[in-house]
Protein backbone atom coordinates (compact mmCIF):
# COMPACT_ATOMS: atom_id res chain seq x y z
CA UNK A 1 0.00 0.00 0.00
CA UNK A 2 2.83 2.37 -0.80
CA UNK A 3 1.79 5.94 -1.52
CA UNK A 4 -1.52 5.81 0.30
CA UNK A 5 -0.28 7.11 3.65
CA UNK A 6 -0.37 10.77 2.53
CA UNK A 7 -3.96 10.29 1.36
CA UNK A 8 -5.00 8.79 4.70
CA UNK A 9 -3.20 11.59 6.51
CA UNK A 10 -4.74 14.38 4.40
CA UNK A 11 -8.26 12.99 4.62
CA UNK A 12 -7.79 12.37 8.35
CA UNK A 13 -6.75 15.95 9.01
CA UNK A 14 -9.58 17.33 6.89
CA UNK A 15 -12.11 15.02 8.57
CA UNK A 16 -11.29 16.59 11.93
CA UNK A 17 -12.13 20.10 10.71
CA UNK A 18 -15.88 20.07 11.57
CA UNK A 19 -14.99 19.00 15.12
CA UNK A 20 -13.14 22.28 15.55
CA UNK A 21 -14.93 24.62 13.13
CA UNK A 22 -18.63 25.12 13.74
CA UNK A 23 -19.24 28.15 11.54
CA UNK A 24 -21.81 27.24 8.89
CA UNK A 25 -20.31 29.77 6.48
CA UNK A 26 -16.86 28.19 6.77
CA UNK A 27 -18.18 24.64 6.44
CA UNK A 28 -20.24 25.68 3.43
CA UNK A 29 -17.13 27.18 1.87
CA UNK A 30 -15.17 23.98 2.51
CA UNK A 31 -17.94 21.79 1.08
CA UNK A 32 -17.98 23.79 -2.16
CA UNK A 33 -14.18 23.76 -2.28
CA UNK A 34 -14.08 19.98 -1.90
CA UNK A 35 -16.78 19.62 -4.55
CA UNK A 36 -14.63 21.63 -6.98
CA UNK A 37 -11.61 19.52 -5.98
CA UNK A 38 -13.61 16.40 -6.91
CA UNK A 39 -14.64 17.85 -10.28
CA UNK A 40 -11.02 18.88 -10.79
CA UNK A 41 -9.76 15.38 -10.01
CA UNK A 42 -12.04 14.11 -12.77
CA UNK A 43 -10.49 16.58 -15.19
CA UNK A 44 -7.02 15.67 -13.91
CA UNK A 45 -7.41 11.98 -14.76
CA UNK A 46 -8.02 12.85 -18.41
CA UNK A 47 -6.07 16.11 -18.66
CA UNK A 48 -3.26 15.52 -16.22
CA UNK A 49 -2.44 11.85 -16.77
CA UNK A 50 -3.60 11.35 -20.37
CA UNK A 51 -2.74 14.88 -21.53
CA UNK A 52 -6.14 15.53 -23.15
CA UNK A 53 -7.19 19.03 -22.13
CA UNK A 54 -10.97 19.19 -22.00
CA UNK A 55 -12.64 22.61 -22.05
CA UNK A 56 -16.10 21.18 -21.47
CA UNK A 57 -16.12 19.11 -18.30
CA UNK A 58 -19.41 20.81 -17.49
CA UNK A 59 -20.91 18.09 -19.71
CA UNK A 60 -20.18 15.51 -17.00
CA UNK A 61 -20.88 17.71 -13.99
CA UNK A 62 -24.22 18.76 -15.44
CA UNK A 63 -25.22 15.24 -16.43
CA UNK A 64 -24.52 14.00 -12.91
CA UNK A 65 -26.51 16.86 -11.41
CA UNK A 66 -29.48 16.51 -13.75
CA UNK A 67 -29.69 12.72 -13.54
CA UNK A 68 -29.65 12.88 -9.73
CA UNK A 69 -32.35 15.52 -9.68
CA UNK A 70 -34.59 14.20 -12.46
CA UNK A 71 -34.64 10.58 -11.26
CA UNK A 72 -35.85 11.73 -7.87
CA UNK A 73 -38.30 14.40 -8.95
CA UNK A 74 -39.83 12.82 -12.02
CA UNK A 75 -39.40 9.11 -11.36
CA UNK A 76 -39.54 9.06 -7.59
CA UNK A 77 -36.25 7.22 -7.33
CA UNK A 78 -34.36 6.90 -4.07
CA UNK A 79 -31.74 9.63 -3.64
CA UNK A 80 -28.85 7.21 -3.10
CA UNK A 81 -29.82 5.26 -6.19
CA UNK A 82 -30.14 8.50 -8.18
CA UNK A 83 -26.71 9.55 -6.99
CA UNK A 84 -25.18 6.31 -8.22
CA UNK A 85 -27.09 6.54 -11.48
CA UNK A 86 -25.72 10.05 -12.03
CA UNK A 87 -22.19 8.68 -11.78
CA UNK A 88 -23.00 5.85 -14.19
CA UNK A 89 -24.48 8.31 -16.69
CA UNK A 90 -21.38 10.49 -16.39
CA UNK A 91 -19.18 7.47 -17.14
CA UNK A 92 -21.38 6.50 -20.09
CA UNK A 93 -21.23 10.03 -21.49
CA UNK A 94 -17.46 9.95 -21.10
CA UNK A 95 -17.41 6.70 -23.06
CA UNK A 96 -19.57 8.13 -25.83
CA UNK A 97 -17.69 11.42 -26.21
CA UNK A 98 -14.35 9.64 -25.87
CA UNK A 99 -15.19 6.98 -28.45
CA UNK A 100 -16.39 9.62 -30.94
CA UNK A 101 -13.58 12.12 -30.55
CA UNK A 102 -10.66 9.73 -30.25
CA UNK A 103 -11.93 7.69 -33.20
CA UNK A 104 -11.58 10.89 -35.24
CA UNK A 105 -8.08 11.39 -33.86
CA UNK A 106 -8.85 14.80 -32.38
CA UNK A 107 -6.07 16.32 -30.29
CA UNK A 108 -5.01 19.66 -28.85
CA UNK A 109 -7.11 22.61 -29.99
CA UNK A 110 -9.57 20.31 -31.77
CA UNK A 111 -10.19 18.21 -28.69
CA UNK A 112 -10.64 21.35 -26.59
CA UNK A 113 -13.20 22.66 -29.08
CA UNK A 114 -15.22 19.47 -29.41
CA UNK A 115 -15.53 19.02 -25.64
CA UNK A 116 -16.62 22.65 -25.37
CA UNK A 117 -19.21 22.05 -28.08
CA UNK A 118 -20.65 18.96 -26.35
CA UNK A 119 -21.09 20.94 -23.13
CA UNK A 120 -22.79 23.77 -25.03
CA UNK A 121 -25.16 21.44 -26.88
CA UNK A 122 -26.16 19.81 -23.60
CA UNK A 123 -26.66 23.25 -22.04
CA UNK A 124 -28.94 24.38 -24.85
CA UNK A 125 -30.92 21.13 -24.79
CA UNK A 126 -31.28 21.36 -21.00
CA UNK A 127 -32.50 24.95 -21.29
CA UNK A 128 -35.43 23.97 -23.54
CA UNK A 129 -36.24 20.29 -22.90
CA UNK A 130 -39.32 19.70 -20.72
CA UNK A 131 -37.72 16.85 -18.73
CA UNK A 132 -35.04 19.17 -17.29
CA UNK A 133 -37.61 21.79 -16.34
CA UNK A 134 -36.33 23.93 -19.23
CA UNK A 135 -35.61 27.51 -18.17
CA UNK A 136 -37.12 27.06 -14.70
CA UNK A 137 -34.77 24.27 -13.66
CA UNK A 138 -35.46 21.31 -11.39
CA UNK A 139 -36.07 21.65 -7.69
CA UNK A 140 -35.57 18.59 -5.44
CA UNK A 141 -38.13 18.46 -2.63
CA UNK A 142 -36.83 19.09 0.83
CA UNK A 143 -36.99 15.78 2.71
CA UNK A 144 -34.44 15.77 5.50
CA UNK A 145 -33.17 12.37 6.51
CA UNK A 146 -30.47 9.87 5.66
CA UNK A 147 -32.81 7.89 3.39
CA UNK A 148 -33.29 10.93 1.14
CA UNK A 149 -29.58 11.82 1.32
CA UNK A 150 -30.39 15.19 2.87
CA UNK A 151 -28.86 16.33 6.11
CA UNK A 152 -29.61 19.26 8.36
CA UNK A 153 -26.02 19.39 9.48
CA UNK A 154 -23.41 20.88 7.17
CA UNK A 155 -20.84 18.64 8.86
CA UNK A 156 -22.46 15.46 7.52
CA UNK A 157 -22.44 16.82 3.97
CA UNK A 158 -18.84 17.82 4.56
CA UNK A 159 -17.90 14.27 5.49
CA UNK A 160 -19.80 12.90 2.50
CA UNK A 161 -17.95 15.11 0.01
CA UNK A 162 -14.68 14.47 1.84
CA UNK A 163 -15.26 10.72 1.47
CA UNK A 164 -15.87 11.21 -2.25
CA UNK A 165 -12.71 13.32 -2.57
CA UNK A 166 -10.81 10.66 -0.61
CA UNK A 167 -12.09 7.99 -3.01
CA UNK A 168 -11.02 10.14 -5.99
CA UNK A 169 -7.54 10.50 -4.48
CA UNK A 170 -7.32 6.72 -4.11
CA UNK A 171 -8.49 6.24 -7.70
CA UNK A 172 -5.86 8.70 -8.95
CA UNK A 173 -3.15 6.94 -6.92
CA UNK A 174 -4.26 3.51 -8.14
CA UNK A 175 -4.16 4.75 -11.73
CA UNK A 176 -0.74 6.27 -11.15
CA UNK A 177 0.66 2.98 -9.86
CA UNK A 178 -0.97 0.74 -12.45
CA UNK A 179 0.05 -0.30 -15.94
CA UNK A 180 -2.97 1.67 -17.18
CA UNK A 181 -1.48 4.83 -15.65
CA UNK A 182 1.83 4.16 -17.37
CA UNK A 183 -0.01 3.86 -20.69
CA UNK A 184 -1.80 7.14 -20.05
CA UNK A 185 1.46 8.93 -19.34
CA UNK A 186 3.08 7.36 -22.40
CA UNK A 187 0.21 8.67 -24.55
CA UNK A 188 0.51 12.10 -22.95
CA UNK A 189 4.24 12.39 -23.51
CA UNK A 190 4.30 11.08 -27.07
CA UNK A 191 1.25 9.45 -28.56
CA UNK A 192 2.96 8.19 -31.71
CA UNK A 193 5.81 6.64 -29.78
CA UNK A 194 3.33 5.01 -27.38
CA UNK A 195 1.43 3.53 -30.32
CA UNK A 196 4.65 2.25 -31.82
CA UNK A 197 5.31 0.41 -28.56
CA UNK A 198 1.93 -1.28 -28.80
CA UNK A 199 -0.19 0.95 -26.57
CA UNK A 200 -3.76 1.08 -27.84
CA UNK A 201 -3.93 4.87 -27.49
CA UNK A 202 -7.57 5.14 -28.49
CA UNK A 203 -8.90 2.67 -25.94
CA UNK A 204 -6.61 3.97 -23.23
CA UNK A 205 -7.76 7.56 -23.74
CA UNK A 206 -11.41 6.51 -23.92
CA UNK A 207 -11.04 4.54 -20.69
CA UNK A 208 -9.49 7.61 -19.05
CA UNK A 209 -12.43 9.67 -20.22
CA UNK A 210 -14.91 7.18 -18.72
CA UNK A 211 -13.23 7.37 -15.31
CA UNK A 212 -12.88 11.13 -15.67
CA UNK A 213 -16.55 11.52 -16.57
CA UNK A 214 -17.64 9.40 -13.63
CA UNK A 215 -15.58 11.35 -11.10
CA UNK A 216 -16.68 14.77 -12.35
CA UNK A 217 -20.29 13.56 -12.56
CA UNK A 218 -20.05 12.57 -8.89
CA UNK A 219 -19.31 16.22 -8.09
CA UNK A 220 -22.41 17.18 -10.07
CA UNK A 221 -24.55 14.60 -8.23
CA UNK A 222 -23.33 16.07 -4.98
CA UNK A 223 -24.15 19.57 -6.16
CA UNK A 224 -27.76 18.60 -6.86
CA UNK A 225 -28.12 16.87 -3.51
CA UNK A 226 -26.50 19.71 -1.57
CA UNK A 227 -28.25 22.69 -3.16
CA UNK A 228 -31.41 20.78 -4.16
CA UNK A 229 -31.65 22.85 -7.33
CA UNK A 230 -30.29 22.47 -10.85
CA UNK A 231 -30.69 24.62 -13.94
CA UNK A 232 -28.92 24.65 -17.28
CA UNK A 233 -26.70 27.63 -16.53
CA UNK A 234 -25.39 26.05 -13.33
CA UNK A 235 -25.15 22.45 -14.44
CA UNK A 236 -23.71 22.91 -17.92
CA UNK A 237 -22.32 26.42 -17.45
CA UNK A 238 -18.78 27.33 -18.47
CA UNK A 239 -17.94 28.21 -14.85
CA UNK A 240 -17.59 24.54 -13.91
CA UNK A 241 -15.64 23.66 -17.07
CA UNK A 242 -13.20 26.40 -16.10
CA UNK A 243 -12.98 25.56 -12.40
CA UNK A 244 -12.54 21.84 -13.11
CA UNK A 245 -9.54 22.69 -15.28
CA UNK A 246 -8.23 25.50 -13.12
CA UNK A 247 -7.77 23.51 -9.92
CA UNK A 248 -5.50 20.73 -11.24
CA UNK A 249 -3.52 23.14 -13.42
CA UNK A 250 -2.87 25.46 -10.49
CA UNK A 251 -2.35 22.74 -7.91
CA UNK A 252 -0.23 20.46 -10.04
CA UNK A 253 -1.38 18.82 -13.24
CA UNK A 254 -0.98 15.05 -13.34
CA UNK A 255 -0.43 14.73 -9.58
CA UNK A 256 -2.71 13.05 -7.04
CA UNK A 257 -3.00 16.04 -4.73
CA UNK A 258 -2.93 18.77 -7.40
CA UNK A 259 -6.72 19.27 -7.70
CA UNK A 260 -7.24 19.32 -3.93
CA UNK A 261 -4.42 21.79 -3.35
CA UNK A 262 -5.51 23.89 -6.33
CA UNK A 263 -9.12 24.03 -5.13
CA UNK A 264 -8.07 25.06 -1.61
CA UNK A 265 -5.73 27.77 -2.91
CA UNK A 266 -8.04 29.11 -5.61
CA UNK A 267 -11.18 29.13 -3.50
CA UNK A 268 -9.38 30.73 -0.55
CA UNK A 269 -8.08 33.43 -2.87
CA UNK A 270 -11.55 34.11 -4.19
CA UNK A 271 -13.05 34.16 -0.72
CA UNK A 272 -10.22 36.38 0.57
CA UNK A 273 -10.85 38.85 -2.24
CA UNK A 274 -14.53 38.96 -1.32
CA UNK A 275 -13.67 39.67 2.30
CA UNK A 276 -11.51 42.60 1.28
CA UNK A 277 -13.77 44.24 -1.28
CA UNK A 278 -17.23 43.00 -0.40
CA UNK A 279 -19.22 40.87 -2.80
CA UNK A 280 -18.36 42.52 -6.12
CA UNK A 281 -19.17 40.35 -9.13
CA UNK A 282 -16.25 39.16 -11.17
CA UNK A 283 -13.39 39.92 -8.82
CA UNK A 284 -12.75 36.34 -7.71
CA UNK A 285 -12.72 35.19 -11.32
CA UNK A 286 -10.29 37.95 -12.33
CA UNK A 287 -7.97 36.52 -9.69
CA UNK A 288 -8.50 32.94 -10.93
CA UNK A 289 -7.62 33.93 -14.49
CA UNK A 290 -4.56 35.89 -13.38
CA UNK A 291 -3.34 33.05 -11.15
CA UNK A 292 -3.84 30.61 -14.02
CA UNK A 293 -1.64 32.69 -16.33
CA UNK A 294 0.98 33.24 -13.61
CA UNK A 295 1.15 29.57 -12.64
CA UNK A 296 1.56 28.48 -16.25
CA UNK A 297 4.19 31.17 -16.75
CA UNK A 298 6.25 30.46 -13.66
CA UNK A 299 5.55 26.90 -12.50
CA UNK A 300 4.01 24.96 -15.39
CA UNK A 301 3.82 21.86 -13.18
CA UNK A 302 1.58 23.75 -10.75
CA UNK A 303 2.14 24.64 -7.12
CA UNK A 304 3.17 21.08 -6.22
CA UNK A 305 5.70 21.19 -9.05
CA UNK A 306 6.75 24.58 -7.71
CA UNK A 307 8.23 23.22 -4.49
CA UNK A 308 11.14 21.32 -6.09
CA UNK A 309 11.55 24.23 -8.48
CA UNK A 310 11.85 26.59 -5.53
CA UNK A 311 14.37 24.29 -3.89
CA UNK A 312 16.37 24.22 -7.12
CA UNK A 313 16.25 27.98 -7.36
CA UNK A 314 17.38 28.38 -3.77
CA UNK A 315 20.18 25.88 -4.33
CA UNK A 316 21.33 27.73 -7.43
CA UNK A 317 21.35 31.01 -5.58
CA UNK A 318 23.16 29.55 -2.64
CA UNK A 319 25.72 27.79 -4.85
CA UNK A 320 27.51 30.90 -6.17
CA UNK A 321 27.83 32.21 -2.66
CA UNK A 322 29.35 28.89 -1.56
CA UNK A 323 31.79 28.93 -4.46
CA UNK A 324 32.76 32.53 -3.83
CA UNK A 325 33.49 31.62 -0.23
CA UNK A 326 35.63 28.76 -1.50
CA UNK A 327 37.44 31.13 -3.83
CA UNK A 328 38.02 33.52 -0.98
CA UNK A 329 39.48 30.69 1.06
CA UNK A 330 41.74 29.64 -1.78
CA UNK A 331 42.72 33.21 -2.53
Amino acid sequence: MKGFAPIVAAVGVLAAVPLVVHSIVTLNFLVVTLMIALAGQGWNILGGYAGQYSFGHAAFFGTGAYVTAILQVRYGANAWFAFGAGIVFGAALGGIIGALTFRSGLRGSYFALVTLAFAEVLRIIASVAPITGAGVGTLINLDLGARAFQFQSRAVFYWVILALVGASLVIARLIEQSRFGAWLIAVRENEDAAKALGVDARSVKTAAMIVSGAVTAAAGCFYAQYFLFVDSGIAYGTWISIEALLTPIIGGVGTVFGPLLGALVVKSLGEGAKLVTGDVPGLDLILYGAVLVLVIGFTPRGLIGGFPQLRGWLARHRAPRASSIQEAEHG
Binding site: R103, G105, S109, A117
Partner: protein, 290 residues
Protein backbone atom coordinates in the same frame (compact mmCIF):
# COMPACT_ATOMS: atom_id res chain seq x y z
CA UNK B 1 -43.85 24.87 -46.84
CA UNK B 2 -42.83 28.48 -46.40
CA UNK B 3 -43.43 31.08 -49.04
CA UNK B 4 -40.43 32.70 -50.71
CA UNK B 5 -41.58 36.02 -49.24
CA UNK B 6 -40.35 34.80 -45.86
CA UNK B 7 -37.62 32.46 -47.04
CA UNK B 8 -35.65 34.85 -49.24
CA UNK B 9 -35.29 37.64 -46.66
CA UNK B 10 -34.31 35.02 -44.10
CA UNK B 11 -31.55 33.76 -46.37
CA UNK B 12 -30.38 37.29 -47.20
CA UNK B 13 -30.34 38.33 -43.56
CA UNK B 14 -28.44 35.17 -42.79
CA UNK B 15 -25.83 36.13 -45.36
CA UNK B 16 -25.53 39.64 -43.89
CA UNK B 17 -25.11 38.30 -40.37
CA UNK B 18 -22.71 35.71 -41.70
CA UNK B 19 -20.47 38.48 -42.98
CA UNK B 20 -19.98 39.86 -39.48
CA UNK B 21 -19.32 36.33 -38.22
CA UNK B 22 -16.74 36.12 -40.98
CA UNK B 23 -14.77 39.00 -39.48
CA UNK B 24 -14.65 37.38 -36.06
CA UNK B 25 -13.76 34.06 -37.66
CA UNK B 26 -11.10 35.68 -39.86
CA UNK B 27 -9.20 36.79 -36.77
CA UNK B 28 -9.44 33.31 -35.26
CA UNK B 29 -8.37 31.48 -38.38
CA UNK B 30 -5.48 33.86 -38.94
CA UNK B 31 -4.18 33.21 -35.44
CA UNK B 32 -4.71 29.47 -35.82
CA UNK B 33 -2.98 29.42 -39.18
CA UNK B 34 0.22 30.86 -37.74
CA UNK B 35 0.28 30.00 -34.04
CA UNK B 36 -1.59 26.68 -34.36
CA UNK B 37 -3.75 27.38 -31.35
CA UNK B 38 -7.35 28.38 -30.90
CA UNK B 39 -7.51 31.75 -29.21
CA UNK B 40 -10.00 31.26 -26.40
CA UNK B 41 -9.74 34.96 -25.53
CA UNK B 42 -11.32 35.91 -28.85
CA UNK B 43 -14.84 36.24 -27.45
CA UNK B 44 -13.72 38.30 -24.47
CA UNK B 45 -11.76 40.54 -26.83
CA UNK B 46 -14.91 41.06 -28.87
CA UNK B 47 -16.85 42.01 -25.73
CA UNK B 48 -14.09 44.44 -24.81
CA UNK B 49 -14.11 45.92 -28.32
CA UNK B 50 -17.88 46.33 -28.19
CA UNK B 51 -17.51 48.20 -24.91
CA UNK B 52 -14.80 50.35 -26.45
CA UNK B 53 -17.05 51.18 -29.41
CA UNK B 54 -19.92 51.85 -27.02
CA UNK B 55 -17.93 54.30 -24.93
CA UNK B 56 -16.36 55.92 -27.99
CA UNK B 57 -19.91 56.78 -29.03
CA UNK B 58 -21.25 57.72 -25.60
CA UNK B 59 -18.32 59.70 -24.26
CA UNK B 60 -16.54 60.98 -27.36
CA UNK B 61 -19.56 61.10 -29.64
CA UNK B 62 -17.70 59.06 -32.23
CA UNK B 63 -19.88 57.27 -34.75
CA UNK B 64 -18.91 53.56 -34.76
CA UNK B 65 -18.02 53.79 -38.44
CA UNK B 66 -15.52 56.53 -37.54
CA UNK B 67 -14.38 54.91 -34.32
CA UNK B 68 -13.28 51.86 -36.28
CA UNK B 69 -10.27 53.79 -37.58
CA UNK B 70 -9.24 54.41 -34.00
CA UNK B 71 -10.16 51.08 -32.45
CA UNK B 72 -8.65 48.80 -35.09
CA UNK B 73 -5.11 50.19 -34.59
CA UNK B 74 -5.64 50.29 -30.82
CA UNK B 75 -6.64 46.63 -30.73
CA UNK B 76 -3.77 45.75 -33.03
CA UNK B 77 -1.41 47.19 -30.43
CA UNK B 78 -3.23 45.49 -27.54
CA UNK B 79 -3.21 42.15 -29.33
CA UNK B 80 0.43 42.54 -30.23
CA UNK B 81 1.34 43.31 -26.62
CA UNK B 82 -0.77 40.47 -25.25
CA UNK B 83 0.98 37.89 -27.41
CA UNK B 84 4.46 39.40 -27.11
CA UNK B 85 4.51 40.03 -23.38
CA UNK B 86 1.97 37.63 -21.86
CA UNK B 87 0.91 34.67 -23.99
CA UNK B 88 4.25 34.00 -25.64
CA UNK B 89 6.48 34.19 -22.54
CA UNK B 90 3.99 32.45 -20.24
CA UNK B 91 3.30 29.47 -22.48
CA UNK B 92 6.98 28.75 -23.20
CA UNK B 93 6.24 27.31 -26.61
CA UNK B 94 3.85 24.59 -25.42
CA UNK B 95 0.59 24.53 -27.37
CA UNK B 96 -1.52 23.26 -24.48
CA UNK B 97 -0.18 25.98 -22.23
CA UNK B 98 -0.94 28.58 -24.89
CA UNK B 99 -4.57 27.42 -24.96
CA UNK B 100 -4.76 27.71 -21.20
CA UNK B 101 -3.15 31.14 -21.15
CA UNK B 102 -5.66 32.47 -23.69
CA UNK B 103 -8.43 30.95 -21.55
CA UNK B 104 -6.97 32.67 -18.48
CA UNK B 105 -6.87 35.98 -20.33
CA UNK B 106 -10.48 35.44 -21.45
CA UNK B 107 -11.57 34.90 -17.85
CA UNK B 108 -9.70 38.02 -16.73
CA UNK B 109 -11.08 40.27 -19.51
CA UNK B 110 -14.65 39.02 -19.19
CA UNK B 111 -14.74 39.49 -15.44
CA UNK B 112 -12.87 42.78 -15.52
CA UNK B 113 -15.69 44.01 -17.78
CA UNK B 114 -18.25 42.56 -15.38
CA UNK B 115 -16.45 44.17 -12.47
CA UNK B 116 -16.27 47.57 -14.15
CA UNK B 117 -19.60 47.76 -15.95
CA UNK B 118 -21.77 45.13 -14.20
CA UNK B 119 -23.95 42.72 -16.13
CA UNK B 120 -26.19 45.46 -17.58
CA UNK B 121 -26.94 45.28 -21.26
CA UNK B 122 -26.38 48.54 -23.12
CA UNK B 123 -27.17 49.80 -26.59
CA UNK B 124 -26.41 52.95 -28.53
CA UNK B 125 -28.81 54.93 -30.67
CA UNK B 126 -27.51 55.90 -34.06
CA UNK B 127 -29.86 57.66 -36.48
CA UNK B 128 -29.40 55.02 -39.18
CA UNK B 129 -29.98 51.98 -36.94
CA UNK B 130 -33.44 51.27 -38.31
CA UNK B 131 -33.03 52.60 -41.85
CA UNK B 132 -33.63 50.07 -44.55
CA UNK B 133 -32.89 49.77 -48.21
CA UNK B 134 -35.78 48.70 -50.46
CA UNK B 135 -34.59 46.08 -52.92
CA UNK B 136 -38.00 45.69 -54.49
CA UNK B 137 -38.54 42.15 -53.25
CA UNK B 138 -37.26 42.72 -49.72
CA UNK B 139 -36.01 45.30 -47.25
CA UNK B 140 -32.54 45.07 -45.72
CA UNK B 141 -31.23 47.02 -42.73
CA UNK B 142 -28.63 49.63 -43.67
CA UNK B 143 -26.11 48.82 -40.90
CA UNK B 144 -26.08 45.18 -41.95
CA UNK B 145 -25.52 46.02 -45.59
CA UNK B 146 -22.68 48.34 -44.57
CA UNK B 147 -21.25 45.54 -42.45
CA UNK B 148 -21.47 43.09 -45.35
CA UNK B 149 -19.56 45.41 -47.68
CA UNK B 150 -17.00 46.34 -45.02
CA UNK B 151 -16.15 42.71 -44.42
CA UNK B 152 -15.11 42.25 -48.02
CA UNK B 153 -13.02 45.41 -47.88
CA UNK B 154 -11.27 44.04 -44.79
CA UNK B 155 -10.77 40.64 -46.38
CA UNK B 156 -9.27 42.30 -49.46
CA UNK B 157 -7.01 44.47 -47.27
CA UNK B 158 -5.85 41.38 -45.38
CA UNK B 159 -5.15 39.58 -48.63
CA UNK B 160 -3.11 42.55 -49.88
CA UNK B 161 -1.14 42.72 -46.64
CA UNK B 162 -0.46 38.99 -46.75
CA UNK B 163 0.52 38.96 -50.42
CA UNK B 164 2.50 42.10 -50.99
CA UNK B 165 4.11 43.33 -47.77
CA UNK B 166 7.24 41.98 -46.12
CA UNK B 167 5.35 41.50 -42.88
CA UNK B 168 2.73 39.46 -44.73
CA UNK B 169 5.42 37.34 -46.35
CA UNK B 170 7.05 36.80 -42.96
CA UNK B 171 3.69 35.71 -41.49
CA UNK B 172 3.13 33.25 -44.33
CA UNK B 173 6.66 31.94 -43.98
CA UNK B 174 6.22 31.29 -40.26
CA UNK B 175 2.85 29.65 -40.88
CA UNK B 176 4.41 27.26 -43.39
CA UNK B 177 7.69 26.42 -41.71
CA UNK B 178 8.47 28.01 -38.40
CA UNK B 179 11.97 26.65 -37.99
CA UNK B 180 12.95 27.50 -41.55
CA UNK B 181 11.62 31.02 -41.15
CA UNK B 182 13.60 31.41 -37.96
CA UNK B 183 16.76 30.23 -39.70
CA UNK B 184 16.14 32.76 -42.46
CA UNK B 185 16.33 35.50 -39.84
CA UNK B 186 12.63 36.09 -39.27
CA UNK B 187 11.81 37.11 -35.71
CA UNK B 188 9.14 34.50 -34.91
CA UNK B 189 8.04 36.11 -31.64
CA UNK B 190 7.44 39.36 -33.54
CA UNK B 191 5.50 37.58 -36.29
CA UNK B 192 3.37 35.71 -33.74
CA UNK B 193 2.58 38.99 -32.02
CA UNK B 194 1.81 40.70 -35.31
CA UNK B 195 -0.60 37.93 -36.26
CA UNK B 196 -2.29 38.18 -32.91
CA UNK B 197 -2.51 41.93 -33.41
CA UNK B 198 -4.14 41.50 -36.83
CA UNK B 199 -6.63 39.02 -35.37
CA UNK B 200 -7.48 41.49 -32.60
CA UNK B 201 -7.90 44.31 -35.12
CA UNK B 202 -10.43 42.13 -37.00
CA UNK B 203 -12.36 41.78 -33.75
CA UNK B 204 -12.35 45.56 -33.23
CA UNK B 205 -13.68 46.11 -36.75
CA UNK B 206 -16.38 43.50 -36.19
CA UNK B 207 -17.36 45.26 -32.96
CA UNK B 208 -17.75 48.63 -34.71
CA UNK B 209 -19.91 47.03 -37.41
CA UNK B 210 -22.05 45.24 -34.84
CA UNK B 211 -22.66 47.94 -32.27
CA UNK B 212 -25.18 50.05 -34.27
CA UNK B 213 -27.69 47.18 -34.29
CA UNK B 214 -26.50 45.02 -31.44
CA UNK B 215 -26.13 45.29 -27.69
CA UNK B 216 -23.16 44.98 -25.39
CA UNK B 217 -22.65 43.24 -22.06
CA UNK B 218 -19.62 41.49 -20.53
CA UNK B 219 -20.45 38.08 -22.00
CA UNK B 220 -21.85 39.09 -25.38
CA UNK B 221 -18.70 37.98 -27.20
CA UNK B 222 -19.08 34.34 -26.18
CA UNK B 223 -22.07 33.70 -28.39
CA UNK B 224 -20.16 35.04 -31.38
CA UNK B 225 -17.01 33.21 -30.66
CA UNK B 226 -18.72 29.83 -30.39
CA UNK B 227 -20.18 30.49 -33.81
CA UNK B 228 -16.76 31.61 -35.00
CA UNK B 229 -15.25 28.35 -33.72
CA UNK B 230 -17.79 26.48 -35.80
CA UNK B 231 -16.96 28.57 -38.84
CA UNK B 232 -13.21 28.07 -38.67
CA UNK B 233 -13.67 24.35 -38.15
CA UNK B 234 -16.15 24.15 -41.02
CA UNK B 235 -13.99 26.23 -43.33
CA UNK B 236 -10.80 24.50 -42.28
CA UNK B 237 -8.67 26.00 -39.53
CA UNK B 238 -6.21 28.49 -40.93
CA UNK B 239 -7.99 28.92 -44.25
CA UNK B 240 -9.13 32.49 -45.04
CA UNK B 241 -11.49 31.69 -47.95
CA UNK B 242 -12.80 28.81 -45.83
CA UNK B 243 -13.64 31.22 -43.04
CA UNK B 244 -15.49 33.55 -45.42
CA UNK B 245 -17.56 30.85 -47.09
CA UNK B 246 -18.10 28.99 -43.81
CA UNK B 247 -19.33 32.18 -42.17
CA UNK B 248 -21.89 32.91 -44.88
CA UNK B 249 -23.06 29.29 -44.72
CA UNK B 250 -23.41 29.40 -40.95
CA UNK B 251 -25.23 32.74 -41.13
CA UNK B 252 -27.82 31.17 -43.42
CA UNK B 253 -28.09 27.97 -41.36
CA UNK B 254 -28.64 30.01 -38.22
CA UNK B 255 -31.25 32.19 -39.85
CA UNK B 256 -33.14 29.22 -41.30
CA UNK B 257 -32.95 26.99 -38.23
CA UNK B 258 -34.11 29.96 -36.17
CA UNK B 259 -37.04 30.23 -38.56
CA UNK B 260 -37.96 26.56 -38.38
CA UNK B 261 -36.95 25.59 -34.83
CA UNK B 262 -37.28 28.83 -32.91
CA UNK B 263 -34.65 31.15 -31.46
CA UNK B 264 -33.12 29.04 -28.68
CA UNK B 265 -33.16 25.68 -30.43
CA UNK B 266 -31.95 27.37 -33.61
CA UNK B 267 -28.46 27.49 -32.12
CA UNK B 268 -28.42 23.71 -31.89
CA UNK B 269 -28.23 23.53 -35.68
CA UNK B 270 -24.88 25.30 -35.51
CA UNK B 271 -23.44 23.09 -32.81
CA UNK B 272 -24.59 19.93 -34.51
CA UNK B 273 -22.74 21.07 -37.64
CA UNK B 274 -19.77 21.87 -35.43
CA UNK B 275 -19.60 18.46 -33.80
CA UNK B 276 -20.33 16.55 -36.99
CA UNK B 277 -17.61 18.40 -38.92
CA UNK B 278 -15.13 17.93 -36.07
CA UNK B 279 -15.84 14.22 -35.88
CA UNK B 280 -16.20 13.41 -39.56
CA UNK B 281 -13.88 15.84 -41.28
CA UNK B 282 -11.85 17.83 -38.76
CA UNK B 283 -9.80 19.37 -41.55
CA UNK B 284 -12.94 21.21 -42.69
CA UNK B 285 -14.06 21.97 -46.20
CA UNK B 286 -10.93 23.80 -47.32
CA UNK B 287 -8.25 22.96 -44.76
CA UNK B 288 -5.28 20.66 -45.01
CA UNK B 289 -5.32 17.55 -42.83
CA UNK B 290 -4.67 18.56 -39.23
Amino acid sequence: MLSPVILIPAILNGLLMGAVYALVALGLTLIYGVLHIINFAHGAMLSAALFAAFFAFRMLGLDPYVAVFLLAPLFFVLGYAAQRFVIGPASQGDDRNMLLVTLGIAVVIENALLFAFRADTRTINVPYAFETIDFGFTFLAVPRVVGFCAVFVVALALWLIMSFTDSGRAIRAVAKEKLGAELAGIDVAHVYAMTFGLGSACVAIAACLLIPTYYVNPTVGNAFVLIAFTIVVLGGMGSVPGALIGALLIGVVESLSGLFLGESLGQIGIFVIFIVVLLVRPSGLFGARA
